[in-house]
Amino acid sequence: MTTTERVPLAHHFETPEQQHAAALLGMWMFLITEVLLFGGVFLGYVIYRVNMHEEFVQASEHLGQSVFGLTHVPFLGGLNTIVLLGSSFTMALAVRAAQSGNAAGLVRNLGLTMILGTTFLGVKAYEYTHDWHLGLIPGIKFDHTAWVGSSVNSRHVELFFVFYFVLTGLHAIHMVIGMGILAVLWMRSRRGRFSAAYYTPIEIAGLYWHFVDVVWIFLFPLLYLIRH
């Protein structure tokens, strides 16, 4: 490998390969702690959903829109799921471009991933604004009068939205952090800092980005798709 001398090798590693393997292992270990962080909130959600099933179904319907004459269709949530899956796809292509030493492909796919990530956050911001106007913000702007006369306890509906904002908010914070990481890697890629011999930061960032995608894969059915 003629480019080996360009690989920054920390003194406590024998070879660049060993350093790369250690970095990947470290990222997977970090992702374990992330799984348990989100898992704890998921567990709380499951317990309350079993207890307050009727209210959670009605609250979830408020996350849907009217599309093609159908009501309560989870259009924006579904759109964001597809956008995020697309960003994972371009991120995987970015890592592949780095592995094959395709510098232009790396810059292009990191750029596409950032565009899709921004789209996701834009749709999320629109949804949050809509929730504000509907009075669905627990503790701050929650319209209990809208539920008077119905069979459900509006306090339980409010609790659904506590879980909704904590889970999607935590996820959105992870997205913003991911966007920051991608922006730095994009600039470094443009300066030609990565090669087929050294692309560890790209692969590590890819693992993080895909993990955030996996979190959304579970958030989407849990929050948006409760109907029965």
């Binding site: 390969e17 790369h20 393997a21 990947l24 292992l25 997977w28 270990m29 992702l31 374990i32 799984v35 348990l36 898992g39 704890g40 567990l43 499951v46 317990i47 079993v50 207890n51 307050m52 099933h53 009727e54 159908l70 269709v73 989870p74 579904g78 799921t81 597809i82 899956l85 697309g86 994972s88 796809f89 991120m91 995987a92 292509l93 592949r96 592995q99 094959s100 306890n153 339980h156 890819g206 693992l207 895909h210 993990f211 995608d213 996996v214 894969i217 579970f218 989407f220 059915p221 948006y224 798709l225 409760i226 109907r227 029965h228």
Partner: protein, 100 residues
């Protein structure tokens, strides 16, 4: 790790992405249909399938060393302990359904 990393063909990524989109459309359409008691198991089954696809292909678990598999498997073990013991406690003390 291998000195030479395994480079997945673009075709594999494209196929996985297409399956992920198809599964997303499937989970939305089943959610809007009446599936009775199977509603939640179907939604969760599809989500688990999608997550496994992302782990295996996008996160390269398929071609990762056994140590990475151990870490990924360990995650499931710890998560299962947290869910199993907590839910067993709630169910056995009759707290489930208390607020209906």
């Amino acid at each position: 790790m291998d000195a030479q990393p395994h480079i997945t063909p673009i075709r594999t990524y494209t196929t996985v992405f297409a399956i992920l989109i198809a599964l997303t459309l499937l989970t939305v359409s089943t959610a809007l249909s009446d599936m009775g008691v199977w509603h939640t198991p179907i939604a969760m089954g599809i989500a688990v399938t999608k997550a496994i696809l992302v782990f295996l292909f996008f996160m390269h678990l398929l071609h990762s060393p056994k140590l990475i598999w151990l870490v990924a498997g360990g995650t499931l073990v710890w998560l299962s302990i947290m869910f199993a013991l907590t839910l067993a406690d709630y169910w056995s003390r009759g707290i489930v359904g208390k607020y209906q």
